[in-house]
Amino acid sequence: MNKMWLKKTVAVAVLSALLAGCSNGNAGSDAGASGTSSPSGGKSKLTFWMKKQLFEDQNNLIVERAKQFGEENNVDVAVEIIAYEDFYPKWSAAIESKNVPDVSFFGYQEIGQFKGQGVLEDVRGLLADLESKNGEIQPNLKKAITFSDGQYGIPFWTEAQVLYYRKDLLEAAGFDGPPKTWDEFRTMSKALTDPGKGLYGAGIGYGKGNSDAEFLTRGIIWSYGGSVDTEDGKTVIADSPETVQAASFIRDIFLTDKSTPPSAIGWDDSGNNKAYLSGQAAMIFNVGSVLATIKKDNPELYEKTGIAPYPAGPKGTFIPGISNNLGIFKDSKNKELAERFIEYILEPDWYKTWVEKGAPLTGPIYTDLTNETVWQDERNKAFVESVKGFNFLGYPGEYNPKAGEVFNLRVVNDSFQKLLLETSYTPEAAVKDLQAKVQDIYNK
């Protein structure tokens, strides 16, 4: 209440200030005239915030589809394509001002985080409808958005991190295939590294904001049987011999073998892309964006590139899942329309065209669509196959908002940056500190 009063006072004060205060007056009068809130003849309005896709075609298709929806249903649909990095401040501002989009893209971490804050709508009804109409949605994807009291997002597409390797370089070094286990990965990285030529085997990095690294590190830790989260949602179990073992493994690649490029500790998400594209790194872990880029811009490199799923650790292969979803805000003024819009976007025929335009970066949510020809391609296969091995943040516990926070704060990255920069800092100490930091977050 207090806030409303303030808002109104401020608004009135500002307008009168502008009208009275400035001799040229244009800011004030025009601001009034161009207010975006003016309802155009009672037509209802739908706003959709979509993550900007790497492929221009995919962005255009979405815009067209939304326009079509608008025409068929006599509504104004505004699609706003937003880069992922920019979503956070925008969500925050939107939620705070209650001026939210009706439908928005969310990574599953954000679904968890916002669900925890109680600003998302339960959409389990819609999800059930969709499945009964269009066929099964891959169970692993539903896991990430399902909570004890409901389902808070509709899966939209998948992305999988895979191993990219240079077939020519591996062959030259006497290896006949990609590494099957993390130990092999280490051996091969070391053999491939030749600083004199500026070539490094392991293109893995740890920049402060790096999300690739947050995922990759979890993948390695999980495959050693460790964790950075909890089993029961309360007690953090990061401090275990298995996690320490995984940390030592990563530390060895960086500090003992020196198989990583010199600036890798400072890499942001584009770091490993750059390293691979320039031929500096022989192996990297990334989603399909790199493959798509080189296919278009560097066919020569594309030919030399092999794709394989994550290597296995002592406990098997664990792939950190990336699932992208659509969700509806509780403050949306048009929830029913929003549901119809989501249905429209996920209508299988159109959806198939859209998702395949983005292959292999974007994978389909419907189980049936994973059998389409495009995914039989030698290089694309690993991307959809990986989905079956998906595990989500919070493992071995269920995904929960706290696990999302641990991810967003890049706690794991921080610990590993320190581990890799300070030689006197042991893996045991790093894992202990990690445990304490994560426990802090869970306790809050």
Binding site: L15, G21, K52, E80, E85, P89, K90, A93, D297
Partner: protein, 275 residues
Amino acid sequence: MENKSINRQILVYVTLAVMLLFALFPLYWMVNTSFKSQSEIYNLTPNFWPKGFTWAGYEKLFEKGFLGNVRNSLIVSLIVSLFSIAVSMLAAYALSKLKFRGRKLISRGILYAYLMPRSVLFIPLYMLVSSIGISNSIWGLMLIYPTITIPYATWMLISYFKTIPDEIEEAAMIDGCSRVRTLSSIILPLAAPGLAATFIFAFTLCWSEYLYALVVITKSTDKTITLGLADMIVGDVFAWGPLMGGSIIASIPVIIMYLFTSKYMVSGMTVGGVK
């Protein structure tokens, strides 16, 4: 004496050369990169001139409606900096030349307003623009940007006005000019260089603002250049060609404006002349 002057000349030109190198090298690199093809950009050893010269980066830029972004930025920056200079000028005149109660408090207050970190006002200002219905449009930015430019412009102008001796004004007033006449016909012309410089700096502050624009504007038709350029990055893939090309285009209006007012700034020696 002769010798000394030559040494001095050498010193001046060497210093100039070093400064130019530091200032311009990144810009040269920007131009260089903008004409390279994607695969050449990712070469392990950099080329100092593009081997396969290409306009592809620029073409992509125009396809994406970059000119619209430039237009939006021009409108916002021009209106905001003109408005800010106009009102700041009056305030600065009062604060530097008039005696009145509360003068010290207000001049302090304006300076304090300037040091308020953006992260403090970020959310409150967003709520302000969305409550009066001008979020997601350049009008929202026009309301917000003066928080950056007004305190700045007022402070810079106070210091310029102070360099104008009171005697000139007093002479004019003895001649029968009113305060307002004195301000418009004596003080402002004398302060012209200061006004020009302040305008340029205020303009560039708006021109390169990113954070507020990011939060306020989502609609593609209302995006400013900084947002347009940030759009060239999708996830972990940077479109270096268009990015660099766009930066070059983005700096042209400011350079032109600077060239235009630079003469004015040089010719504005009046201030010192009467001292």
